[in-house]
Amino acid sequence: MERTAGGDQNSGLTAEQKKQLKKERRKAKVSGKATQSTTQVQTSFPGTDASSSNVLQKSKAELRAERRAKQEADRAAKAAMKAEQTSGGSKLKGPQVPANIQADDPKVQKKAAKKLEKQQVPQRAEGQKKVALFSHLHQYERSLSITSNMGFGNTGIHPAIIQLGLQYAEGLITGSNARCAALISAVCRVIKDYVTPQHKELSRDLEMKLKPAISYLNQCRPLSVSMGSAIKFMKLQISVCRKMSDSEAKSRLVDSLREFVRVNIVLAGKAISDSACTKISDGDVVMIYGNSSLITRVLCDAHKVGRNFRVVVVDSRPKLAGRGALRRLRQAGIQCSYVLVSAASYIMPEVTKVVLGAHGLLSNGYVMGSVGTSMVAMAAKACGVPVIVCCEAYKFCERVQADSFVNNEIGDPRDLLVKTNSHKSNPSLLDEEDWKQMDSLKVLHLTYDVTPPDYVAMVVTELGKIPCTSVPVVLRVRSTDT
């Protein structure tokens, strides 16, 4: 069988020639030269010789052989990949990353923007001069033009929600409990004013109505863990009232939401307060960090019961929330001291206990709190001072986080800078003009941080005093309860 090298086109072949080619191919199969035939196919593409009569047969046979070779190669590769993968253990799809921590990925952001547009929620402008390490998180511009196109009519987002979003964004309602209670109060008003349109069911339509509201609130300020918990509860309740009349469903919803606030904030606070009071003994020096509605309640109740203790309030810039706590404790008549977080380790030898509030508790036992909490906890651990965290059970969340970088909230950098005035009182302090002019200067204002469970001795919840690592158990218990 002669072969012609080169050649590119198949010349027209008669039926006889085709039959001959087929025979040749069968012979090639029998001889078992599978791999050889692939190379043969390349070289044997026919020219105009007589030997080309064999060529089509060959090429068919060779094509088949080629295909088979490909299959085997694929199989081999797959087997190899599997071997690799079993050691790696990753799915082919990859982890699902939420869009709010992918602010630097333009594709994801485009999708998110489209989603917001569909819901008719205005999008907030991104801030300037983001720190490179945190460019995956959103940083919003302060000037609130988010309401510029909202109008004052009946359509779109309910005015109670608009008001709530503004109050969140401007910091008039801060603190997990307050934000959650305010959210529930606003949603109750929405439900009260809600009228089911014709041919639609309350359980489905109300949920559709709440979606843009929640997107809007998320744009004003990223949702807190407590709010997330409340929203989950809301959705569950809405889906349950399926076969009821409208007025009955509405009243049932409003009642259940109010009950949620009563049970999870008011009663839980009382239970935690009773529990934690037993841990505060006479002569204690208790250190707290920042402001927390629960912690101030615990301390005021302990004082009312008659315990004799004094408090050290640790505060940090720029929010200086500790002053609010200081004011409340002083109004209750408790003896207080006040330091900034830079002095935490200095004053730690005097302290006998550290009581911290939490924004949320993560499934791996880490405590998410306002930025600076982990510093205080670390300083306490270094000095051998026990750290007690007080947190309501509804703030436990299924997220897992081991650092403060992956997921956080970035505030306005201008809060950290001094106000510009025409005659600078102290030229060594940075103000807004300096920040804008210096290209290489980036200012970071973080809101939360996570504290590892090794630093925390105990968490006091309304379900009892538990170690940090028992969070998944509590979550499981709560999910079976509801």
Binding site: Q167, L172, I173, T174
Partner: protein, 453 residues
């Protein structure tokens, strides 16, 4: 419905009687060839209001509806009769059944480019009982047409506004007093105010633009309690003062239920909506509060708008100023209207400046220079005329060779040849013979000349 708009257009323009006598009450005074009311409604429509209520005099009701046809908004015009002499609060009482939510009350003479949502945001944010709009007060212009000389010693009515010095622009109003209500040159300050705000700023350079956002319960209070008749001069200072007054309700003790407390019609606190949920939230929030705020308290906030244009066209000086601002090359009000209307004919040899406006079917002959002037409809301007800094209304005829500087000419005026007028005000239908030379004169009907201080 979150907010309803009410425009008070029933005023007679008592501070600029020269302009507003006859068939041209204040809402229809032309600024930049558009009636004053156009600016207010334009702003409301741009802000996203879908409907508005306008209170105006019966005689101009139909004219009003004609002007309003231009807009997409649903407008409801309520007429009041000229003889009734109703003031703002009484007008609100008329429409109290139409009011179903919080209300923004505007006057028809407001010209502004304020993005309205900023003011509404202050109201939403603080949940305030009253929110006002303040802008820097404007000084009178140098040469007011028709006014011979500035009356010596006459101070413009200033307003003393006490503000809480916070970093942001949405300020809490602590104190509101008009100079006219000043007794013995002393500013009375409440002691409880000083206790809550030991440091506050009193500013006299701000002007209240008469834009008020009221909560619904305020409207209930105003309509039931007819002791006051003017929003601006009586109600607002009273409400601002009541922020720091003790309420009778508090003194009744906390144990009494709702039924025991007498509904005192005159006590403003009995109208305030109490909301225990809001109290609960205020208790929980970690935000720093200057004062213990709860849902029972009255709060008044203001938004100070300094960046842009905001004026109440109240007197002749402001009228001239408004015309000048509206016709500026970069004005935001002119995107619909072309500067020189296509139906008017301007001769090639004439010059019409870039900051002028020429109305429909006007003819301007050759060698005429028109600078910083607004010319109305159907006018005929002869050749060789020099117009500078004037406001000319409809159907005016100016003969050749005249020279007008800083004048206001009302409808149907005829100016003869080679006249020379400087800072004059010429009323409706006046005819001036040729070669008249006048300076700082006001030619109006005699009854309008009486101006009581």
């Amino acid at each position: 419905m979150e907010l309803q708009a009410v425009v008070m257009a029933g005023g007679r323009g008592s501070h600029m009687l020269d302009l507003t006598q006859g068939l041209r009450p204040k809402p229809f005074v032309l600024v930049g060839n558009k009636p004053l009311i156009w600016y207010t409604i334009n702003m409301l429509e741009g802000a996203g209001f879908s409907e508005a209520i306008i209170i105006t005099l019966n005689c101009v009701k139909t004219h009003m509806e004609l002007v309003l046809k231009e807009f997409n908004m649903i407008t409801k015009v309520i007429g009041i009769s000229e003889e009734s002499d109703l003031d703002t609060v009484d007008s609100l009482c008329l429409i109290k059944d139409l009011i179903k939510s919080d209300v923004v009350v505007l006057s028809c003479d407001l010209i502004t480019d304020l993005p309205f949502h900023r003011l509404a945001d202050v109201h939403r944010l603080h949940d305030s009982s009253v929110t006002m709009l303040l802008c820097p007060a404007k000084a009178d212009i140098e040469n007011i047409p028709g006014v011979k000389q500035k009356k010596k010693g006459q101070q413009k009515q200033r307003e003393f506004i006490g503000l809480c010095p916070t970093e942001r622009l949405n300020q809490r109003i602590l104190f509101l007093l008009n100079e006219a209500d000043l007794e013995d040159d002393l500013l009375p300050v409440n002691q409880s105010l000083m206790r809550e705000f030991p440091k506050f700023q009193v500013r006299t350079d701000l002007h209240d633009t008469h834009v008020y956002l009221f909560k619904k319960w305020m409207i209930n209070y105003l309509t039931h309690n007819k002791m006051r008749s003017s929003l601006r001069s009586e109600v607002l200072p009273y409400v601002v003062q009541k922020q720091f007054a003790k309420s009778n309700r508090f003194q009744n003790g906390t144990g009494e239920g709702e039924t025991n407390i007498k509904m005192d019609v005159n006590d403003i606190f009995s109208y305030v909506d109490e909301d225990s949920e809001k109290d609960f939230i205020y208790d929980l929030t970690l935000a720093p509060h200057e004062r213990k705020v709860n849902s029972k308290s009255i709060t008044c906030y203001a938004y100070i708008y300094e960046e842009g244009l905001c004026m109440n066209v109240n007197n002749i000086s402001l009228y001239m100023e408004a015309n000048r601002v509206v016709s500026k090359p970069d004005s935001t009000f002119l995107n619909i209207q072309t500067r020189v209307h296509p139906s008017s004919r301007v001769d090639e040899k004439s010059q019409v400046g870039a900051d002028c406006l020429v109305g429909e079917r006007t003819e301007i002959a050759e060698r005429t220079s028109v600078k910083r002037t607004i010319v109305g409809r159907n006018c005929t301007i002869g050749s060789g005329v020099r117009l500078s800094n004037c406001v000319i209304m409809d159907r005016v005829h100016i003969d050749n060779g005249s020279n007008l500087n800083g004048c206001i000419l009302c409808d149907d005026v005829v100016i003869g040849e080679k006249c020379d007028l400087k800072d004059c005000f010429v009323g409706d239908q006046k005819k001036l013979t040729a070669m008249t030379r006048l300076s700082k004169e006001s030619l109006v009907e005699s009854q309008a000349m009486m101006e009581f201080e």
